[in-house]
């Protein structure tokens, strides 16, 4: 089924054109952060996979997947800032920027993660997991609402959800670290040999 419909997940963001559905996702903090944003990420990933190698960044600026994974980290970090969630609901320019940034993050992850060796991959995944966990704890500990668009109890539940995602991504990082290194992976993971002089 996955092979027959490679574009199907990529078309998921089109659902956001349906205003009641978009409102359903964005009117509460948990589905906004933990359903909509991951959905956009998955859609970007699927879109890049359907497009194939031409969706990858040129290797000349993305050695070891560094540029693509930097983008993924930056987008994740930016959308952990509480004001960004409010602004994306109140300013249509930021709303579109959010959709685009997360789609590109998914596409960048698809293109760059296979280029990253174990160390680089674990560094970025661990970094994102740590960031989500920190945000999750802050969301739970803050005595006041961090977003004017959401209630305090939603914020606490979302914080717990962020911790769940942090553990999930942390587990992926550990799995990647413990994965047996094939010769091909080893070549990618190790530093390039110095050229003969």
């Amino acid at each position: 089924m996955r092979r027959r419909l490679p574009w199907a997940p990529a078309a998921l963001p089109l659902l956001l054109w349906i205003a009641p559905l978009r409102h359903l996702l964005e009117s509460r903090m948990l589905p906004h952060m933990l359903v909509e944003l991951p959905l956009l990420f998955v859609a970007g990933w699927a879109l890049a996979r359907a497009l194939g190698p031409r969706a990858r960044l040129p290797v000349v600026i993305d050695a070891h997947g560094l540029l693509g994974l930097t983008w993924v980290s930056a987008v994740s970090a930016l959308w952990m800032i509480p004001s960004m969630l409010d602004l994306s609901l109140l300013d249509i320019r930021l709303q579109w920027a959010k959709y685009l940034a997360w789609l590109l993050a998914g596409a960048a992850a698809w293109g760059s993660l296979p280029r990253a060796g174990a160390v680089v991959g674990v560094f970025f995944l661990g970094n994102i997991a740590w960031m989500l966990a920190t945000a999750g704890l802050l969301f739970q500990e803050a005595p006041q609402r961090l977003c004017v668009s959401y209630l305090l109890d939603e914020q606490i539940v979302t914080g717990q959800g962020l911790i769940f995602f942090a553990v999930l991504i942390g587990a992926l990082a550990v799995r990647r670290l413990l994965r047996p290194i094939s010769p091909a992976n080893a070549c990618r993971a190790l530093p390039a040999p110095a050229s003969a002089e």
């Binding site: 050695a63 930016l78 800032i81 509480p82 409010d86 004017v148 209630l151």
Partner: protein, 212 residues
């Protein structure tokens, strides 16, 4: 892999990182404001927040926001809904105290006026507005209580000021319960928490040139 792609990659990563740091700094006022409310208050403190003029429906008929005007009157504006049993009642109580002080000092010709904008248009009927005014002993000469005359007027005013009312699931709303200091041009000159009303009054009097 040769050194050249790595050097180009590091250059691209550095450029992207710097751009994103600059963007983050811009969005958080130099990494000091992380919430929308904090940004909104910063915007008010630096005169970057303006309240548009919209028609208001009061218990006595339709009028407009008192701004803009040629007078040098300054307004202390709060946002309420009449069914609210918590913060809006507290705001009403503080406004009653403010009104008492203004009346004692200036009579009916105060350079500082009070405005309460009720945003729950469905329930904030003229009758409910009148009941709210009666409950808090509002004097028409000093305290204007009204609701935006149309849904569009409500959206225009609330969005411009960044006032967000979230349904609380119990038939009420959670909202920014702050006092907005607005000058005669409609520019917001400060946003104060409920318990900071003496500071809001002091600043309002300063803006009118009245000794505090």
């Amino acid at each position: 892999m040769s050194q050249r792609p790595l050097a180009l990659t590091l250059f691209a990563v550095t450029a992207l990182s710097l751009a994103l740091v600059a963007l983050s700094a811009q969005l958080t006022n130099g990494f000091t404001r992380w919430t929308f409310e904090a940004l909104r208050r910063d915007a008010a403190a630096t005169g970057r927040l303006s309240a548009p003029a919209v028609p208001l429906r009061t218990a006595n008929g339709v009028t407009g926001t008192p701004w803009p005007s040629d007078t040098h009157t300054v307004y202390l504006v709060d946002f309420i809904y009449t069914q609210c049993l918590t913060i809006c009642q507290a705001l009403g109580g503080e406004y009653t105290r403010l009104q008492r002080q203004l009346r004692a000092r200036f009579g009916a010709h105060s350079p500082v006026r009070l405005v309460s904008v009720a945003f729950d248009r469905k329930h904030d009927t003229p009758t409910e507005l009148q009941a709210y005014a009666r409950r808090h002993h509002a004097d028409d000469a000093l305290w204007l209580i009204g609701t935006p005359a149309s849904a569009q007027a409500a959206d225009t005013l609330l969005q411009a000021l960044g006032v967000v009312a979230v349904p609380d699931g119990l038939g009420g709303f959670v909202h920014n319960g702050a006092i907005h200091l607005i000058d005669s041009h409609g520019t917001v000159r400060g946003i104060y928490d409920l318990d900071q009303w003496p500071q809001a009054l002091e600043r309002a009097l300063q803006l009118t040139g009245t000794p505090t």
